[in-house]
Symmetry: C2
């Protein structure tokens, strides 16, 4: 199992976070290629100098056996991966650190923990990978924190096993704390995998995926974790909530769907039966270039409506590819990929490429067909492979924090009929906000997922931020607000696959019917009557408690 | 719009229900071919002689404009299509008839109706097609009825328009009371259809489909109506509940999924944006024969796990085909069908037939490829076409009621690993119950839908029933109970696509986590605080009110 200690302030592992060469390269690229003003190079505040408040409560003896109050562990479990959290952590501010971190070794210990917390009015933040980027991962802060006697992070990392595999039905019973690579290492013995690869895959795990309705890297069909859940078991303070193992059913509102997206406010997901499958045998992919986002979008619309179901169907605009360092691409890039365990995929790709051709797309590199079914390895020199490496690199080492770059995303989904207008307004408003806050910067666009009725569209900004962390967080908040307000002006969702957390809650409240917010409050009142689970996430109590 | 008056006691239209020739043919078939004891031939009790209690309350003047207390209308809105309901209606028992039938012409009138009902403690039964077969359609009866000052059927038939079509995103805004054929007649002008064909299609409509999580006739992928709902608008007594129009999102537990399956207890579905698509251009189908259900199941498992996604993938055992009158078939019949709007389907069928061949299936008739893409009409003499006609015939005229045949179904879903054992037990227990209650009879098996992890399996019994309607209902209940108890002994669902209603509620309570039942109660308390909507369906109030 992955037991390497993680960084307390960014994506990755402790001790591997600062790469001076990468920082110098990135600094040169930002200043010379992107025209950023000179970037300072900051060092993270060492843990010894950081603010990590002493615990304010003591856990009872019966829990102490699996709890720790170790300073480094509490610091590491203070935050998720939201940008303001990263900034605070980098600069040594661990003010909302939990009073203790519980690492239950059994489900019974989860039950005990929740019983004590409910009794003692201790806020509990369940965590698997801790990679949430919507501010919903860590303990409450400020006024919200003051309502509780204490705070506890509930780390599920010891519940990390694939307990059972049903090869015949292609399903596996997996514990909630199991991280992506550990799931698939254990399934490999059965020649199966869980076909769900969110971008956080290496660092995140099953419970978090289900709690946040994670979206996989697959662009169409069965991308959301919801669609792979056969049954789920959740420990709520009021008792265990376990659904039946069934291929499907139509009996009442689906209980699984209440658990999916519950973001830790209703219970702790301890295990789930998940649909799994063999790895693909046939793969086909291609990189196609278009003159403009709207032209590329039209081809993508036709491909997804033709029900060709590509596994990969991403759009990156030219700003985005240049930010990845693919600076020879001055067009919009569409990546198409097909995969199958059973039948060749070249015809489907061919069909998609015909559609692209009709819509003005160019595929200079041609299609690639590979995998065991084609008796051929993935070519390393293709445009798709080159894109894959650049895309991975862009997420692997965090150079933004040392270089005071402020960056973030707003992602939503919109039907095709309204996409062009929304896209225009969004680029304008987001761009204006970047300019107003930082003087300059870049806004880029991608499609991460596509549906017959519209794309999931993802806007990223990256700008020279202020070296002062408080001011940089303010820059981030204001730019993000401009994007989210635009999204809501079009009555869209403040999140397609990043969850609500605390950062999107203001807009989530606008998104949902008022009656639905009250319904969720009522359900939380049943399952978590003391309101100790993940306070401040999704909904607040009906009245101030 | 379909305005032909419907029968008050069975599937179909008033005045078209008794076909003496069909009854005589069926009588001969049952007695001579199936060995049933001599069947009496009963006539339905005419409306004039039936028990239809006088209304016990009066609707206020402001509602009277769109309400009727007409005796025939109230009789017709007393029941859904559950077999005990049909029997009671055939024999002239309309004891639970609603005091009035409201036919609102606008959503505002739905709001007014619910406001009055909540105030006056009148139970409201929303109805679109009224074809529910789980006892969840009509007003409450007996003790439950006594808790209310009166009862009202809320017939949505005037809300029957396709209000808007977005051809680009392939979506349509459809009113909740629109019946299947009326939906597609209106969409035909746009060369689109709503690809959802439940067996009740001709008589049922959108609101009911969503409220009961209807399953279409398509066997794999996107068969449940839930998967086609883009957004939904529901009038609850507490206010309007409307979700956003979005291709997808991951913000909290999905509000659409609370409405899907709510069975009229949370609100009245007045409209929904639904995903629609062009009609298929390519079709391929074949009939394959197997020696045994388990052999056929193995082929079907491999086909669905190969992700070939047939539109049709049904299994009928030899008992079932003989009950359809296809008596030359003494094997298990598997119907495979593929369809596409965009690409030829012959390869996919070929692939599926190879799998069948490897599992011992025989396809004497060979595959058929047809549709505009193949420049060929559907052949009329194929095995598949012959099956289609027999299957349709078997549902078109109800000869069971006049001939005192007692019949019913239990359908569930089970993972592949447990299917063989469950199937054996189910056939035994169901068969024993039929024998004990009726002396003889038939139990048949089909797969209606299949998933990568298991089939939806459907058991039908048909036996010589007692001419006394009360005794016949008792026979039905006892046989059904034997089936449902078996289902629950295997911890499966009491319904795959027939909904819960009142008939499956006892077993539904065993199916769901206790906390989930309390959660639904809490949500109903928010949305329908006076508990007037569909009393007795899904959940009861926390305490007797």
């Amino acid at each position: 199992m992955s037991s390497k200690p993680r960084s307390r302030w960014g994506w990755g592992f402790a001790g591997e976070m600062i790469d001076e060469e990468a920082i110098a390269d990135r600094k040169a690229f930002l200043e010379d290629e992107l025209g950023f003003p000179e970037r300072p190079v900051l060092d993270p505040v060492p843990l010894a100098e950081a603010t990590v408040p002493e615990p304010s409560i003591e856990v009872p003896e019966r829990l102490a056996e699996f709890c720790t109050t170790d300073r480094a562990t509490r610091a590491r479990r203070t935050y998720g991966m939201a940008r303001p959290e990263n900034i605070r952590a980098f600069h040594g501010d661990f003010e909302p650190a939990p009073d203790a971190v519980a690492v239950p070794r059994t489900e019974a210990e989860v039950v005990e923990t929740l019983a004590w917390a409910s009794e003692a009015n201790v806020a509990v933040s369940p965590v698997t990978g801790g990679t949430g980027i919507a501010g919903g991962t860590g303990p409450p802060d400020g006024d919200l924190r003051a309502k509780y006697a204490g705070t506890l992070a509930l780390d599920l990392k010891e519940l990390n096993e694939v307990l059972e595999v049903d090869e015949q039905s292609r399903a596996a019973l997996i514990e909630g704390g199991t991280l992506g690579p550990d799931i698939n290492d254990q399934l490999a013995a059965h020649d199966l995998h869980l076909r769900h690869y969110p971008q956080s895959y290496a660092l995140s795990g099953l419970g978090g995926w289900i709690a946040t309705r994670s979206g996989g890297h697959y662009a169409t069909r069965y991308t959301h974790i919801d669609e792979l859940v056969e049954s789920v078991r959740m420990v709520a303070p009021a008792g265990v909530f376990e659904t039946q193992r069934l291929p499907a059913h139509g009996a009442g509102p689906d209980a699984n769907r209440l658990v999916c997206g519950s973001e830790g406010i209703l219970g702790v997901i301890t295990r789930a039966w998940m649909q799994v499958e063999p790895r693909p045998v046939y793969r086909s992919d291609a990189a196609v270039y278009f003159d403009g986002v709207l032209e590329a979008a039209e081809a993508i619309r036709r491909i997804v409506q033709a029900k060709l179901y590509p596994a990969n169907c991403r759009l990156h605009d030219r700003v985005e590819t240049s930010l990845y360092g693919l600076d020879d691409i001055d067009e919009e890039l569409v990546i198409l990929g097909f995969e199958s365990t059973e039948r060749p995929t070249d015809d489907d790709l061919e069909h998609a490429l015909e559609i692209c051709d009709q819509e003005g797309g160019r595929c200079p590199d041609g299609p690639d067909n590979y995998g065991p079914g084609y008796g051929r390895e993935r070519p390393e020199d293709s445009d798709v492979a080159r894109w894959g490496r650049a895309f991975q690199m862009s997420g692997s080492v965090d150079t933004d924090l040392p270089l005071c770059v402020v960056g973030g995303t707003v992602e939503t989904a919109v039907t095709w009929d309204r996409f062009p207008e929304f896209h225009g307004t969004m680029l304008e408003n987001f761009g204006d906000a970047v300019e107003a806050e930082c003087g300059m910067g870049h806004v880029s666009t991608r499609f991460t997922h596509v549906y017959p009725d519209g794309p999931a569209v993802y806007y990223t900004f990256r700008a020279p931020g202020d070296p002062d962390p408080d001011r940089r967080i303010e820059q981030w908040q204001r730019i993000k607000r401009a994007g989210l307000d635009t999204v809501m002006a079009y009555d869209l969702t403040p999140t397609h696959h990043h969850a609500v957390g605390r950062d999107h809650k203001e807009w989530y409240a606008q998104q949902i019917p008022e009656n639905y917010g009250e319904s969720l409050q009522a359900v939380k009142g049943v399952l978590d009557p003391a309101w100790v689970l993940n306070p401040g996430v999704l909904v607040d109590p009906p009245e101030t408690n």
